[in-house]
């Protein structure tokens, strides 16, 4: 938060004053003085309500990613064309007679033709009730990728179906697909950032620490990389991904393409931070004390840039989520049968589709929501990132 220089001065002197007090008399929050940067950051972050809430949401998101197979009632390949384009089902607590059921239930659905447009429409069959059951058996999968099981979080008994967010054009449960899609949509950015970070750290670190010629050359290279327009390059690169390759490989390609563009940004952050930290007097002090270069980097420089890195990583992720979505949306990224939020949105490409089956836009909500969460969290982190500055 920027304040006038005068106020800054006041707060600054205030801060030092309060510390002086602490060293003299005992004070309530002397805890702070034993607190490391991270705990101070955490303390500040906790005050940021929006960021805290976003963090909570992100945690929930990633728990879903981890247990996607368990949470999704169907697996990615299951479909039933009888139920194509079914609207979201309502969960009922009260039946026709108005009796309350503690366990929610859904009615069976039947498709009929609309008398005028002859379009398929679904109506609830009030005769059949399917209570929602928890820990039901369904398709086989490996829990956490390790233990084979067929237990799913919830479902209804055969022949009932539960589509809480409706189905797509092939009759696949949208909720399941969104949950499964989150595995790709939310993990690609993480892996992408990790790769960019490694490249960025090494190249930016070299550039920033050594400076001089090395720096000049690396900077030129980064400049050239940056002078590529991102989007067309993405398109061109992903057009180069051969069709019909394995899902894993495809995933890998996409990550590479995304991080290919992103690393320059992180390299710049790392370089800038190294450059400014290098000039701090405590680095010179360590050098004079005879501390080796490696140790200076490890003990003095790295901890200093860590907080900035965490911030820039958090703020880089939303861009990657959007990039993956855009690529998959255009059919250039993840392709069916693999699923991601972008893939799910492909069906929303035709306006008619959206007009008739508006629930197909639901994945969009997840995209926006996760991007917002990362943005807010990143913003909060940025404010908290330097707990020593007011």
């Amino acid at each position: 938060m920027k304040r006038s220089s005068l106020l800054k001065k006041i707060f600054h002197s205030l801060k030092t004053h309060s510390k002086r007090n602490a060293t003299g008399a005992s004070e309530e929050n002397t805890q702070d003085y034993y607190a490391s940067q991270w705990s101070l950051m955490w303390k500040k972050l906790k005050k940021h309500r929006l960021a805290r809430f976003s963090l909570l949401c992100l945690i929930v998101f990633y728990i879903i990613v981890l247990f996607a197979n368990f949470i999704a009632p169907q697996d990615a390949t299951e479909y039933d064309s009888d139920y194509a384009n079914a609207p979201p089902m309502q969960l009922h607590f009260f039946d026709e007679e108005g009796n309350f059921h503690l366990r929610p239930f859904v009615y069976g659905i039947e498709s009929t033709r609309h008398p005028e447009t002859y379009r398929k429409v679904f109506v609830e069959d009030r005769e059949v009730k399917y209570p929602v059951q928890f820990f039901t058996e369904g398709s086989e999968y490996k829990f956490l990728g390790l233990f084979p099981t067929n237990i799913h979080l919830f479902g209804v008994e055969d022949p009932g179906e539960i589509f809480i967010l409706g189905t797509d054009g092939m009759g696949r449960d949208l909720f399941s697909r969104i949950v499964l899609g989150s595995q790709v949509s939310l993990s690609i950015p993480l892996v992408g950032v990790a790769i960019s970070l490694i490249i960025g750290l090494i190249i930016g670190g070299i550039s920033g620490y050594f400076g001089g010629w090395t720096d000049a050359i690396i900077q030129r290279i980064i400049e050239i990389f940056r002078s590529f327009p991102t989007l067309p390059l993405w398109m061109a690169l992903s057009a180069a991904i051969p069709a019909g390759i394995e899902v894993v490989k495809m995933y890998f390609y996409i990550v590479i393409i995304i991080s290919f563009i992103e690393w320059t940004g992180l390299a710049r952050v790392v370089r800038g931070q190294f450059m400014s930290l290098k000039k701090e007097e405590f680095v010179l002090a360590a050098k004079i004390a005879g501390v080796s270069t490696g140790k200076i980097i490890r003990k003095h420089l790295m901890p200093g840039i860590m907080s900035y890195l965490v911030v820039s990583i958090t703020l880089a992720i939303p861009g990657m989520i959007l990039a993956e979505t855009a690529m998959s949306f255009l059919g250039l990224g993840i392709r069916s049968p693999a699923t991601s939020w972008g893939v799910l949105l492909q069906e929303a490409q035709q306006i008619e589709n959206v007009a008739l089956y508006p629930w197909k836009l639901i994945p969009l909500f997840f995209v926006i929501f996760s991007v917002l969460c990362f943005n807010f969290f990143g913003d909060g982190l940025r404010d908290a990132s330097d707990p020593y500055k007011k």
Binding site: H17, K19, R20, A22, Y34, E281, F282, I288, A289, V291
Partner: protein, 343 residues
Amino acid sequence: MPEPILRVKDLNKEFKTKSTKLFSKSVPVKILKDISFDLLEGETLSVVGESGSGKTTLGRCVLNGLDATSGEVVYVTNDEKAVDYLNLGKADYKKYRKDIQMIFQDPYSSLNPRMTVFDIISEPLVTNYDVKKKEVEEHVADIAERVGLNPHLLKRYPHAFSGGQRQRIAIARALITQPRVIVCDEAVSALDVSIQAQIINLLDDLQTEMGITYIFISHDLSVVQTISDRVAVMHLGRIVELASVDSFFENPKHPYSEALLSSVPKPDPDVKTDRIILQGEVPNPGNPPSGCEFHPRCPYATELCRTEIPELKETGQGKRHLSACHYADELELRGVWHANQAK
């Protein structure tokens, strides 16, 4: 007569200015020009001058925090060996590096905010000696007490301390390897007067107790006078006067010193000295004037000053009072001594 502990010979430092213009060559700016002096064991040598005079660069070059462009710094070790401090071999590096330490001006940026005070103080010790954890703790507690820090607070981070206390931490860090020389770079300039006096006294006590030699870099002549044995005045990268503190304040032998002394505001409304006010500003070190670099501002400058660079040489004040002025012995320059002694 104390022996020299450091012999600085013809030290030069150039910086390449980063040219903002394309295709134009960067011009090296000379920050230090042929600096030579001996630092005597146990003394405090103050280096004074305006901002941009190169005093901070000098301090950093002497202890090899910055690479000097040319020249040498000879360090006379405890066992009377003379080693080239700027080019220490690997074994010597390990042995002697720790003998010269530094205290910085800004007690905020000189302490890593991400390390505890204990880690900050112990770092030089752990780096330079093979010591057990227990010994380290004892040493740190010992030194902390000596500089007036409560040893119970060492697990705290620097942000828990005020400016004055931070400066004590920095002093403790500098002392822990038991150095023989400490370079104090504007070590008290950032502090309030009442705190400044505490730190000055602390430095003084440490010198008496441990026999440390100080290079005391400062722009504040009043502070310099309370702590130094000798004074070196720098102007545009050159030492223009080098003298014992009494001789310097009583009989300055360079017009620049005279101007500096008379510019210091005296905290005594009854003393109305008619002061010498220098005209103009410090010249740009990238484009220094010809001849004596002080001549554009010097009230006594002659044609000779415009053309010839004066050498730093002995004056009538004796062997140990050097001045780089063509007219060092001819000018009747005013010091500040008599004014107060008269009072």
